[in-house]
């Protein structure tokens, strides 16, 4: 069998962001690959040390626009942990609303991109149209379709008026049927089954060894969701099941995402129903003492972790974070092994890789 090395970039991989792979082929099958990140490395962990804690709220929201709310909210949680700030209950719920809206939009974008990668253009357009309901909601409530600007240290800086609550209820209602239909389509449609089932399989043992997180892990039967394992914000008062699958293939990953998107609709409805009255923010300009803290959250792509170290000044001594995508690239070596070249774009997109997040 002939061995060949090929290099693949964003254009060949149908990626929105620049990422390069060196793939070793045995015949026409993938034998190994080298992931070469760095194109979107903006030196952000260095920049955050030259910006004060307030500036970092906005800077971190620009880490990645698909999970943009997870970063400032988890960062603010770390600051609050260091300062011993207890955020008001209303703020906890409003953070959850923002996070879940982003989760739905992010998961749908991932499913749309995969439809595009296998040439299912009508499905791609349909998923993007459904996603528009969330995009419109984000703009109507937060003033931007990607970056919500919802978080501040001590709470949130947006509120839901009764009209906004009614609007969101309606938006959630509008999402239910399309999401249910999409789930059935990704589960049973023969054309999608043919491309996605038993493709890019990650066995559970390999998933544990690679230490993957988020929907990629849950699609292998790993029952891990930070919202359950390490509850934060309002999640200890919200009722939901961790969505899992066992097949570990492309189809399973999408079913986890679509089940979660549907569940996010329920979570948002629960938040709206339970939304406590009260202030939005604990303290406008709190003192941040010296200290260190860890904060975690379940971002759309999985476990997100922040470490913050402060010295009593406005500038962090160190702010480090690890995004879920960072943990999932390695598993591509397992998923792609033995796959034909034609499946590479789909499988790569099936881990919902976020390159802006990975490279920072």
């Amino acid at each position: 069998m002939t061995t060949k090395i090929i290099e693949l970039g964003p254009h060949q991989l149908a990626l929105e962001e620049p990422m390069y792979f060196r793939v070793r082929l045995e015949g026409d099958r993938v034998a190994d690959l080298d992931v070469m990140p760095g194109q979107v490395h903006r030196g952000m962990e260095h920049l955050v040390m030259r910006r004060n804690l307030y500036q970092n709220i906005t800077l971190l929201e620009r880490l990645c626009s698909l999970c943009s709310n997870s970063h400032p909210s988890t960062f603010c949680t770390a600051v609050e942990e260091v300062a011993g700030i207890v955020i008001p209950p209303r703020a906890e719920y409003l953070r959850a609303v923002a996070d879940e809206i982003k989760r739905i939009a992010s998961h749908l974008f991932c499913c749309a991109v995969q439809a595009n990668a296998i040439g299912e253009i009508p499905l791609f357009r349909r998923v993007m149209e459904i996603r528009e309901i969330m995009q419109r909601a984000k703009e109507a409530i937060y003033g931007n379709r990607m970056d919500l600007a919802a978080n501040v240290i001590g709470g949130v800086r947006y509120d839901l008026t009764p009209e906004a609550v009614a609007y969101l209820y309606q938006a959630m209602e509008d999402m239910k049927k399309p999401l249910d239909e999409l789930y059935l389509q990704f589960a049973n449609n023969p054309a999608l089954m043919a491309r996605m089932a038993w493709v890019g399989v990650l066995p559970r043992e390999a998933a544990v060894e690679c230490a993957v997180v988020g929907p990629v892990a849950r699609a292998c039967g790993i029952d891990y969701d930070v919202r359950k394992k390490s509850p934060y914000g309002a999640y200890d008062r919200l009722d939901f099941e961790v969505a899992t699958q066992t097949a570990g293939d492309v189809r399973a990953r999408n079913l986890v995402r679509l089940a979660e998107a549907r569940q996010s609709v329920s979570l948002i409805e629960q938040c709206l129903a339970q939304l406590p009255a009260g202030p939005l923010c604990a303290d406008t300009l709190p003192e941040i003492p010296a200290g260190e803290a860890i904060a975690k959250s379940e971002a759309p792509r999985g476990e997100l972790m922040y470490y913050l170290r402060t010295d009593g000044s406005d500038f962090p001594v160190r702010l480090k974070w690890r995004v879920p995508s960072y943990m999932n690239w390695d598993a591509l070596k397992v998923m792609l092994k033995g796959e034909p070249v034609a499946n590479i774009p789909l499988i790569v997109n099936s881990i919902d890789p976020c390159i802006a997040c990975t490279d920072r």
Partner: protein
């Protein structure tokens, strides 16, 4: 958006995208303009291409990272000479929040000429379409051998609606108390204060601003506010004119006559809710005179 669609419908104008290391916000919104009917670039007679050689209009996102530079320049060099280049979002123009990082090699202008800027973070799809329309107008003008028509861009444009999108920032110098909290919280370094002879001048540059509104959130008097005016696209020759500014005039302290920035009525209302005439006197006193009024002359 007064495009002559009939003329271009025959042969679509081809759009080519280059990501120079963006957060993917602009890129995801550009994907929307190829997927969602309402915002489809087809309505402008355009179509996306994957080939740099076919590019009529190049859309560039991101702050240009050191690592992406060579590939970006290679792709750009492969585009036709008569293409029009559009910078999407503030990152290519100023670096936005990523400016002055060791890993960023922008602004883009240092490496290649830009024709149109579309500020926003990210710009909404309507703004992207407006920016692309502007590029098409430039393209038409160049092909006809005339100067692109330059309409005055003063003030709020007719297209700007009152949608709650976070757009252009507005500054009310009369309410400003020169506390500079806005500059302190601005991640993008978009706000400058300059002390002049007669007062303090605030300048906010919309090609650096990421429209997060944190300045307004922390402004104690509401001197800064976010407007719904999202039509910020402009020819690159106007890059440095996209400013909001205002001068906070000095006034003599009513006690000693020294030049001070008087406290705005908004600040007194924020601090005291219902200021009485005694408290209102504080507004025009310098810190030293205020101290004298409150606790008497400081003792040595």
């Amino acid at each position: 958006m007064h495009m002559q669609v009939e003329e271009t419908a025959v042969e679509p104008v081809r759009l080519f995208r280059i990501n120079t290391g963006s957060c993917n916000g602009c890129d995801v919104e550009l994907a929307v303009t190829s997927a969602v009917t309402e915002f489809d670039v087809e309505q402008l007679g355009c179509r996306y291409t994957e080939s740099a050689r076919e590019a009529d209009v190049v859309l560039i996102t991101g702050p240009l990272t050191v690592r992406a530079r060579d590939e970006v320049l290679r792709l750009y060099a492969a585009t036709p000479r008569d293409k029009v280049t559009v910078a999407i979002g503030v990152c290519p123009v100023s670096g936005g929040v990523f400016r002055d990082s060791y890993a960023v090699d922008g602004p883009l202008e240092r490496h290649l000429p830009v024709d149109v800027n579309v500020p926003g973070c990210p710009p909404r799809p309507q703004a992207l379409l407006a920016g692309i329309s502007e590029a098409l107008a430039i393209r038409e003008a160049r092909r006809a051998g005339v100067e692109p028509s330059r309409k005055p861009k003063q003030g709020k444009r007719p297209n700007a609606d009152n949608f709650p999108a976070r757009g252009r920032l507005s500054f009310d110098a009369g309410a400003c108390v020169d506390c500079r909290m806005c500059r302190h919280v601005c991640a993008a370094g978009a706000i400058r204060f300059q002390e002049g002879e007669d007062g303090v001048r605030l300048t906010l540059w919309h090609n650096s601003c990421v429209f997060c509104g944190l300045c307004c959130h922390y402004c104690p008097t509401g001197a800064l506010s976010v407007t719904g005016d999202w039509r910020l696209d402009h020819p690159a020759s106007d890059t440095f004119r996209q400013v909001e500014r205002g001068e906070i005039p000095y006034a003599p302290c009513s006690g000693c006559g020294e030049s001070i920035v008087p406290a705005a009525p908004q600040l007194l209302h924020a601090a005291f809710r219902r200021p009485n005439p005694e408290i209102e006197k504080l507004a025009t006193l310098c810190p030293a005179c205020r101290q004298v009024m409150s606790i008497g002359a400081p003792r040595r």
